[in-house]
Subunit: 415 residues, 2 copies
Amino acid sequence: MEAEIITIGDELLIGQVVDTNSAWLGQMLNKHNIRIRRINSISDNKDEIFSQLTDCLKRSGLIIITGGLGPTRDDITKNTLVEYFGMGWRVDQQVMQQLEAFYKSRGRTMFEANKLQAHLPDGCKTLINEWGTAPGMWFDIDGKIVISMPGVPYEMKNIFEFRALPLLAERLKRPKLYHKTIVTINIPESILAKNIEDIEDGLPPYVKLAYLPNWNIVRLRLTGTQNGEKDIASEVDDIAAKICQRIGDGVVATEDLNMAEVVFRQLALKNKTLSIAESCTGGYISHQITLIPGASKVFVGSVISYSNSVKHHQLGVDTTLFETVGAVSEQVVEQMVRGVRERLQTDFAIAVSGIAGPGGGSEEKPVGTVVIGICSATQTLVRKFHFIGDRMNVIGRAGNMAFDMLRRMISSETQ
Amino acid sequence: MEAEIITIGDELLIGQVVDTNSAWLGQMLNKHNIRIRRINSISDNKDEIFSQLTDCLKRSGLIIITGGLGPTRDDITKNTLVEYFGMGWRVDQQVMQQLEAFYKSRGRTMFEANKLQAHLPDGCKTLINEWGTAPGMWFDIDGKIVISMPGVPYEMKNIFEFRALPLLAERLKRPKLYHKTIVTINIPESILAKNIEDIEDGLPPYVKLAYLPNWNIVRLRLTGTQNGEKDIASEVDDIAAKICQRIGDGVVATEDLNMAEVVFRQLALKNKTLSIAESCTGGYISHQITLIPGASKVFVGSVISYSNSVKHHQLGVDTTLFETVGAVSEQVVEQMVRGVRERLQTDFAIAVSGIAGPGGGSEEKPVGTVVIGICSATQTLVRKFHFIGDRMNVIGRAGNMAFDMLRRMISSETQ
């Protein structure tokens, strides 16, 4: 059985909202060996929903719909499904009780529009929504499954993971897919490809290789499809090992981790701590580290020294440097990184100063100029880069590069 | 003419990459009054591309394809289009020269695979890629337009904005759409809807209202379609004004801004400065502010005080409080916010301490407990919240709430 996703909402089509739900659903289904054939985003419009649903049901056995289940008038998914499937209505008493409790606990009046959330198509199973008022719905239609859930990401995730997936798992036994991801940094895609050309040429037909470039990272994803009795996982792992050996120290991970996670794991394993001084990256690097649950095991804190005054007072940077060499310089970053490590008393430190753009560039220091420093008790390393792309690109690339420099220093010191 | 987007890549279907390209393209097309009918994400597979392209060309006049143009073997879009349209090949000399210059400037060898980037279908216009090696392609097919671009976001954006859009603008004259967004905070969607029920009932048929909830923000989007000679913009603006008056101070903006942008504009207008002390939000709030170009006009810096030691040494929090009331307490946050404002010498300050989860909660202080403080020269305000959702939800809601508290304080002090 193949799956398709239908996300409903004009906000997706005019780009007011980025569709993160589909990527999350893709990950979940992929883990359960269900292949997604297409992701379709359409308007809150009855005719479009009818036409898309008809197309999807022709192609695929599992259709997951998100969006359009709220209490307001622009939410038309539930009514449209009732009409499409020719069903009647029922009141779900469990949902009604849950709604009553929800509004009571918040001291809010329950309006008629809220009560309507408990009115469901009479041919669907209810998927309880623990974090909101619009329940999910599960339809069995001629051997195919249609699941409809609200579009609010954390409500959808909760419903899918704890209500829909267990039902799906019961229903489906899937042929095995095995994925292996290799994360590389600072090697252009075409050089990577040239470097492993012979390995790629020798891949068996049931193993596929994809290149996923983003900023200065390229992820290589090997996908093996179970082929008879052979152990596909160990076969793919062997190929991955060959590729890693060929690429060498440009490989930062052999599973799908971001750079913050790579460095976090290294530090956690060695019981080492980290502090950060950020200027042009403005908190992004700290945010990446603190998105990781349990970050406090390694991360002590940061100084976001956007102004020169903060660089001087909080990090001890010599003020004369701002006039002689400027804030975006090896000298200032060296003092920033030593300053933050010393003041926050950590094993390692990162510092970044640069020009993220679009303004602030000069001929000598164009937009994208970034100086990155790292240090430990015994070493300090400062390097200057020129990154391309828009503001977020420069920030993101600087973050990855800083983490990579630190990764190498940690490895060299803690063999 | 309606548009459709086709994004190609297995990484989208298994959720390894979030499709941000479509949202960006949606925004750009929407600005130029081109309606997107559907967004379709499909596999790197010839049959899927053929079938999707056939469907799209039946429905819509403009098809925008992203992805699958890289130099590696999993990139099949160009070959597939040549086959689909029955075209031959040509070598684009301008692209070839650009490629040669690109590799020369980087001191890199140009492989055969790289040279192939200059081989293009003989029936397409070339859309030069300034930031990468895969050019975009423009096809005119029986009065319809097909545009194919690489999937790397910053390359795609540059090609679309500076190469494709000018050609599109020449070609299309569009009936006018007018959007107006009202951003509200801390009002549940159904209460908002009840509150403006009569206004929504009275909307003319050519004005549509949508509710877009995310975390503790609900955006209301009014969309008017030009209806004869009437001035649709001023009519929609009048309706928006009525809604704003009804909702009152829950309205934070009457254009599509995030909370960081709202507060940034307030501060910039009044020439006031901001510093931040972040614990559980870990740099996210600072990152939101510093994503705004020109942030240095108002933002001085932050202390990310993840550990209690940093709260004490860098912000002056009394260490006995950690044992008596704990780091997630009104008393600690009050000292954090005053400490950061005083040490970084700013007009206003924000401080946040809490439990983002999934671990670290207790019966007294469950996951989601967040204390937020703001202060100015004359006022300090500290409030305790309980946010629901996963780690990123708690961080995001805390950020919005902190900005909203500050927004109100700035307004009250700078009438």
